[in-house]
Symmetry: D2
Subunit: 440 residues, 4 copies
């Protein structure tokens, strides 16, 4: 319901009933031509059938309703084509194929279009992350673990982490697209008996015409490529959710370190809601459920399944919408993200140095040993919690600690940017990988 | 995609974007009137607002697209109503409510309609089961466990099991409907501050007008009633799946004990596919995924969630379609089911008495002790497997066994209906419960 | 792995292999006695078998490994009992029952113990919520929606919301326990043929002895009661997760409004992690997955399932641990929760009145109309964002607004507790329901 | 509960608490040595710490219980090591690492061992499939779609389909192992601040020592590699489930075309249950739920998650057991599978030629046109259903059909092996791929 909220117009269209019908008709047309190529049916007949597939107009809603008798939309669609083709050509329509051949191969065509859209959105999102990582290499903020302030980090490194998540999940989607999108053609039960000895040849010609791969066997009941695609999409939704979660948390009133561009409330004029983040998080929750269903639906019976397959293509179509939708919203959210580096520093400093307890402990430990260091820092933390002053102040007040740390050491404990470790180097690693992946 | 295949036209309509919009407008209208009732806004204004809600026409697709800014459809819908109402009335539209109040309460209205449809379908399905249980009280077939022939049972008892599953899951849905469908009204953050001290009063008036319950508190982030509804629907889908699984198995060519009325193949004229069963099994797989997502989405943040709630209503709407669709297909499947009692007996007898090994063992055990009985039966089973003749024949050939069983005991082992235990009594229990539940 | 982290010692024990074995032996003992009661086997034999079940000692790990041959632990367990009972009694052990009878009924016994533990933990948690609701009836804090400050609320109302969630989900668990925990006894294929005409009688006697209900039919393949139990537990985990999510968010460094008692970090002495919250949230995520699997596993084949049933009891056992574990951690977390009401007010006031934009808009609207009110408030919000001063200050600076609101109206806008609506009344509703439910 | 039933002894051990502890200690030891290598701590100290990690003995149950305070087992484990190491070395133990570094990297070590076991089991299973495909290249049986007899196929092609499923999912697991198993080292919040400028160097040295990859960044909250592993395992479980489903269906009494070697019943001596199939199907159901939870748990907050991460490693460990267990049972099931080719042919012939309706239709269509062919075949099917004789007989009785088909054509319709299309070629494709993958 209200799918538009959770996806893009382009994905709505690419996954509509009409788009699935167009893909199925494209498969039927290519199949006829492939059979013409291989001499299974006369080329002239093949061409006329293919044109008929290209020109026929059907009502998607009617196809759906008429699909109830056969538990799939292919049979009513083939009937519509046969009717349009006329009695003479009817026998050459859908020749040798089974419903599942058409729908599985059509799913790959839909997947190709969806992948193009998703990759484009991921590219926009990744570019935004790269920009943020570069721009905020030195923007210090509190690193937060289990939602507690931990040690300082940089917003650049946070953005670099987002970037790497997008690069990795994008790479996997491309891998699946390039290696695993294939036609499926098995005929009634996987033997392609209706094509006589032309089975392999027609399969190859069909694949060639559709720009898809040739599988070892038709994959009527071997669904590894379905779940690989599902997993690739699920990982993209999940990575988008991680970023959305961060943005929603950064936007909290008490934190206020970043903000989405949009987000309206129905009652409160001052509110700026993380609307895109909410949409991404919602889409990702639903996507993970779909992934689980698809993995659970691999137990196809014998040569074609009763139920497991019929659950697949609707789930896949929903997953296209939702995982793709998450990527689409992410690209918008990141492109419009405003970042308040000043507020980040203020929040970091509001910890009164407690972000640097690890630093203090390690520095003291080098001089006084681990146990003493722990004792001193714990005592200082106690004082920071109950008194005025920072961690540095508290340690300055302890002669042993003050001596061990020295003035520079104490000063460093008042400066979160003194304790950033490899943050800069890590940002650079991520950006180098980004540049390598994109050639930018 | 092609939702019509997996649900009924009535459910398609009851869960459409238009239906959700109608429900939201019904809530807005009732809210205005309730506020008029309680003096929060003038009654005459309330009435004009309510009528405007009843008359406004909006484009569902546009509401969806415009909902992106706020991650829900309520804000654009309220804007449309305000625009239609004009500047003077605009302030009284959606007065005091938050988006979630409207959508959550609308979900309950949609749920009521859906429940009516689902209960009606379950009633048809249960009636069909009751008929089958009565008609086939004495129709013997192989009881099958782990898909292996076990001991005899009756088709009447199988149908009684289906009946009980439907009675139990129907009862729970009715329980949820009667006890847990309630309005939610909390305003911006659950305090109903905008209604001053009229909060409880308006809530009660709203509930009265909509025929829904009054909750202890608005349930913006307390989602127990959502998952209770989801669970009730999921159990219905699961029970339908159990029956569909049985029907698909009974329809196997080698079994051929029952058949759906419809089911077409695209290539093979002889084939009669379990199409409804496939649709039910597919719907149930998807339903269980949605149930999982809804249970996983209970961790709403603070006063209203970022993501968890936005995942809920689309999942709920899909679940209405799919669980309801499973019930709809089930009612058709069972109403049209043909049962071949003769074939059941033939299949049972084809086991050459192996369905009665337990009977033989128990009968022998009473005379000869457990260990000897096991030995004799195992030996006899070996002979049945390798030679001609039935279990009775094999035991007849063993003097000790023959003596222990006697002629009547041996004869009984050739008659599966001699070993049905409480099957008849159990059928009667189920039918009595059915009659008690329905007053038939 | 490391289950102890996510559950209590009592639940670890109650769901251990040993506990399941003890429950199965309890069922076998009660079955023998019930059969003695009904004259199916001699009472003296029954008693000796029952004692043997009570006294036999088995190695749980060995039962597991030996269960591989039959895909369940009952057969090796029965063999162990028969071996201990000796040849004479062996035939009376497990008489007439099938493996699933024993395991399903044992699951109900385990469920009873688990339910007792869970209800006790929920009671502790609910009592803590009730105390918090009472103590903090007037503790004002920012209501937060989509993680953004919205309008003021009270911590009392937040705790009341938690309380209601616990009351509702506890009530459902008790309902399932009281109405749906039943024995299952069907014999090899549901007919209880092995018990002749004693089927119903033995079932009733078994139920009586075990303190469980009598089902209409054995529920070998009618799994509604399994998913009802799963749903009840899942809802408890989900409600615990909602509270845990809130606590983790309240504990954030920048918010600091509440804190768990414990929570250690491995590297940073100052850190106080929301450890219990993390455990609850983790347990709830896993629980929701288990719920989904259980709902998906209702499609049992024929008289007993191949796979669906064998997936059930391990999932149920895990769900006992995790949902129960969530309740256990919740009770500890809430009992030890420290609440900083002062910090709540500070944070609320740090919004510079922006929590009261709705209040301002409504107040102005009454005097100047909706459109003018919106304009004035939006302008004021703009000034608060860029200049010093609160919302009240900004509106005071606008003559029209200042006149419309008057001095009292303006003053109210500086006091979040002026805009709490029905918060107090709602707290009272929740506490009244709590008192009614518990008799306190 | 009773995990042994669903997995192998080797996997039980490799995923036990003790194994996780051993892996964590291996990481701590390697970390110390890597820090020694890079001069972060003195080499001699490093060596002593490492040896202490190798020698310390801890009680896994105690580690679990003590892990409650921190929501993970690492902190109590580190404390145990520090205690064993003594005050002098304590500071060098776990130096610079955070809990998650240790547990995530340990998970990769556990995953490596598990992968070795799983790949070995898949190899056994694949070899069995290859043998079956070769041996049964020409064994004809009914191809079954939606559980209905469709057209003939060969058992060789069915086994080839299983083989391809195993090859594909094995390949993906190996890909993930080789490309995505990496250390994670980020320190408190991903900056490795505690290691100063040695972060990248120590990470590389740690990876080198553990035989794992070096990630771009530590993956505290970028969980793509976790879900990629989960997906690879889930696909293996799903492929095993497909095969198990087929075997269970083939074992049905009325089908009886194949059988597992084992499978005992508690009551019926004649029964031979598909026990391994049941275990595989159960494991796969649970595995798909775990996959869904893991994909749903990618929304880690900020620098380390509260709940999402803590849900991961238990789910991963369960998934290791269950997906690996499915592979283990599969290897046993397939190695012991008996195939009854004669029964397959009998069953195929029992269809009285109805498996060849497509063949008849296509043959007639070539002579008489599509519409006439359909009419003739439908009429013939009707006669086969109601009269004696096969499809060929029925068509022989129709002059037009008889003339069109000729004697050879009619004879072919009585021989299912006349209509196998590319079955043989497809078997060869699969075997060639198998040989290429394994070098056999």
């Amino acid at each position: 319901v209200f799918d538009a909220i959770f996806t893009s117009d382009a994905l709505l269209e690419a996954t509509s009933d009409a788009a699935w019908i167009a893909a199925m008709l494209e498969v039927e047309a290519a199949l006829a031509r492939a059979e013409g190529d291989c001499g299974v049916i006369p080329q002239e007949v093949a061409e006329r059938v293919a044109r008929c597939c290209e020109q026929v107009r059907v009502d998607p809603a009617e196809i759906g309703r008429n699909g109830r008798d056969s538990a799939n939309p292919v049979i009513p669609l083939v009937e519509a084509v046969r009717h349009a083709a006329g009695a003479e050509l009817a026998g050459a329509v859908h020749y040798g194929a089974t419903s599942q051949d058409i729908l599985d191969t059509a799913a790959m065509l839909v997947a190709k279009k969806v992948t193009t859209l998703v990759v484009a959105d991921l590219d926009v999102a990744a570019a935004a992350c790269a920009r943020l990582a570069e721009a905020h290499r030195e923007t210090v903020l509190a690193g937060r673990t289990l939602l507690q302030p931990a040690v300082p980090t940089t917003f650049g490194l946070k953005a670099a982490g987002w970037l790497v998540a997008l690069l990795e999940t994008r790479a996997r989607l491309v891998e699946v697209r390039d290696g695993r999108f294939a036609v499926s053609l098995g005929g009634a039960a996987g033997t392609l008996a209706s094509l006589g000895h032309h089975g392999e040849e027609v399969t190859a010609a069909l694949a060639e015409r559709l720009g898809l791969g040739v599988p070892l066997l038709s994959w009527h009941t071997g669904r590894a490529r379905v779940v690989e695609l599902a997993a690739a999409l699920g990982a993209i939704a999940g990575s988008a959710a991680k970023i959305a979660r961060d943005v929603a948390l950064l936007m909290q009133g008490e934190v206020a370190e970043a903000a989405e561009a949009g987000g309206r409330s129905s009652t409160m004029p001052h509110k700026r809601n993380p609307a895109a983040a909410a949409e991404i998080l919602a889409a990702a929750r639903r996507a993970s459920g779909l992934v689980g269903v698809l993995f659970g639906a691999m137990d196809h019976e014998h040569e074609r399944a009763v139920g497991a397959w019929q659950a697949e293509w609707p789930c896949l179509s929903d997953l296209f919408r939702l995982a793709g939708g998450a990527a689409a919203r992410l690209s918008e959210m990141l492109a419009g993200l405003s970042v308040d580096g000043e507020r980040m520093r203020e929040n970091a400093e509001a910890s009164k140095g407690l972000l640097l307890t690890e630093a203090a402990r390690l520095a003291l430990s080098a001089e006084l040993g681990d146990a003493a260091a722990r004792r001193l820092v714990e005592a200082a933390v106690g004082r920071v919690r109950t008194e005025k002053g920072t961690l540095a102040d508290a340690l300055r007040g302890d002669p042993a600690a003050a001596a061990a740390l020295g003035p520079n050491g104490l000063a460093a404990l008042d400066d979160p940017s003194s304790y950033l470790g490899s943050a800069g180097a890590f940002v650079e690693r991520a950006l180098a990988a980004y540049r390598a992946a994109t050639g930018r």
